[in-house]
């Protein structure tokens, strides 16, 4: 079994990250924006696990677990805001949130 080179892992992580980032920018529905944020964070997780296994250290996996915790906390706050938005605007369109200008 051949070893996967580190570059390939990092390139895969970058591609996933870009997909997530494009999702955050392009999507209009806030729920999908939150999901795209998850994709970005998990792409980072792939990079960490790959790097950790190349260096034969646990650090990469520790960071991944921390990232999972972060993702959960962020989604909790995000969904709370989402509910508030739904009750107030009856819609999840991000364009409704553009009152602040100056």
């Amino acid at each position: 079994m051949s070893v996967i080179p580190l570059e390939h892992i990092l390139i895969l992580a970058s591609i996933l990250f870009v997909i997530g980032f494009v999702g955050v920018i392009v999507r209009k529905n806030t729920l999908y924006i939150l999901m795209s944020l998850e994709v970005m964070l998990n792409a980072v997780g792939v990079a960490f696990i790959g790097a950790g296994s190349v260096w034969q250290q646990a650090d990469g996996q520790v960071m991944f677990i921390l990232i999972l915790t972060l993702a959960a906390a962020e989604v909790a706050v995000g969904l709370a805001l989402l509910l508030q938005m739904q009750t107030r605007f009856k819609s999840l369109d991000i364009d409704l949130l553009s009152k602040l200008k100056g």
Binding site: L41, A43, F48, D59, L81, R88, L97, L100
Partner: protein, 483 residues
Amino acid sequence: MTLTMLYSLLPILIIAFGCVLSLLLIAWRRSQHLILFFTLAILTSALIASLLMQFDVSQAVQVTLLLKVDGYGHFAFILVLLASIAVSLLSSRWLQNSIEVHDEYFVLLQLVVLGAGIIVMSDHFGALFLGFELLSIALVGLVGYCKVSQYSVESSFKYLILSATASSFMLLGIAFIYSQTGVLSFNVINEQISYGVFYQAGLLLFLVGIAFKLSLAPFHFWTPDVYQGSPTPVTLLLASVSKVAMFVVLMKCWFSQLALFAVVPKGAGIFFIMGLLAVLSMLVGNVLALKQQNVKRLLAYSSIAHMGYLLIVLMIIAPQSISLAWQSALFYLSAYVLATVSIFMALQLTQNNDELMGEINEWQGLFWRSRMLALLIIVAILSLAGIPLTMGFIGKFYLLNLAVEAQQWWLIAALIIGSGIGLFYYLRIIFVLFLTEKNVNVEQIKWLNNMSFFHRTTIFVLTFMGVFLGVFPDSLALVLTLL
């Protein structure tokens, strides 16, 4: 874990303990005043603990791999604590107007302070990440705290999405750096590693993440909206605590990598990018501030410019001037925090009800109604503008000194042009204070005449500090040389 380590972590431990105790306190009795006094007690005891600490950078204590407690970190934490004490004093007035009991607010506030404490002491990307998220997620809650406000959902959603994006960028950067070096500590000097394209990309992504949080120029779009949409005390928290913590950790990280930039031939590129960010922030921040009518938005743009000025300290190359760079940065940050706290104090005291939106025109003729408040605003504004005999001037002088030493002529030019533009909008606020008023707000006058003794003392102390430290800057500069 030895006793010395625990002792050097004492301020952070007090705050962490305070968070848990506050939750227990809430379970026992829900009272606005009780939790406010408890928060103030926790913050004050942490402040006393860090003041008692030995200020000595040679005695920097490495607490496990994750944290490193040194004099600079302590000084930054003292600034953070002072700012958050001001925030809790301001919030007490804002929260009194509502009927509900808001004790979660103070728990979130303590979590923000804890996150800032971990950030300024961190010496490891893992600790940096933990502190960063503690700070950001608690701040998202605080930004959207005032549910009745029409802007709460919008500003907190914007802050959530942008800070989550920023932290993903930062994390990807850390992952790339880790994949090349194999170490998550800040100071890694290993000659055998090839610092190739992935390492540089990682460093760049890391900088992007930090620049989002510091709201440096191409990444500043969230700042004015979030500043305007959040409650005034929370805006103060965003402007002071989060900025100080992020800048201090950026400096720590940058200076530990400095030896590396000298080794790597392509190191000049990263200096170029940093310089570009600095120049852009100074110009964009100052130019966009010109047309603002809202005090909070104006301060948001001015904070972009100030962070741009501060980036000058990162441009030094000679390792022997690092301590000078730290002194300048901490002096500038103290001046910035004092001025910001003063202005937001004034803003909160004049916004006696929710109808007032913090437009500059609401301050029209304030000098004739409340001399003390107007004086406080004038001292703070002059300090932000960098007029001689204020702290801001001395801070800018430090920065110019560093820039000349590093021979960054473009940055000096941008600093001078930026400050020139800045005078225009800063002086407009002072001008408005002296105008005779057209529409008299009776309620505001009544409130200003009935200010409590406590508020008067706070205003007096802030004004006095601004004047004293401006006239005798040595008193603070001497402390900084001891660090």
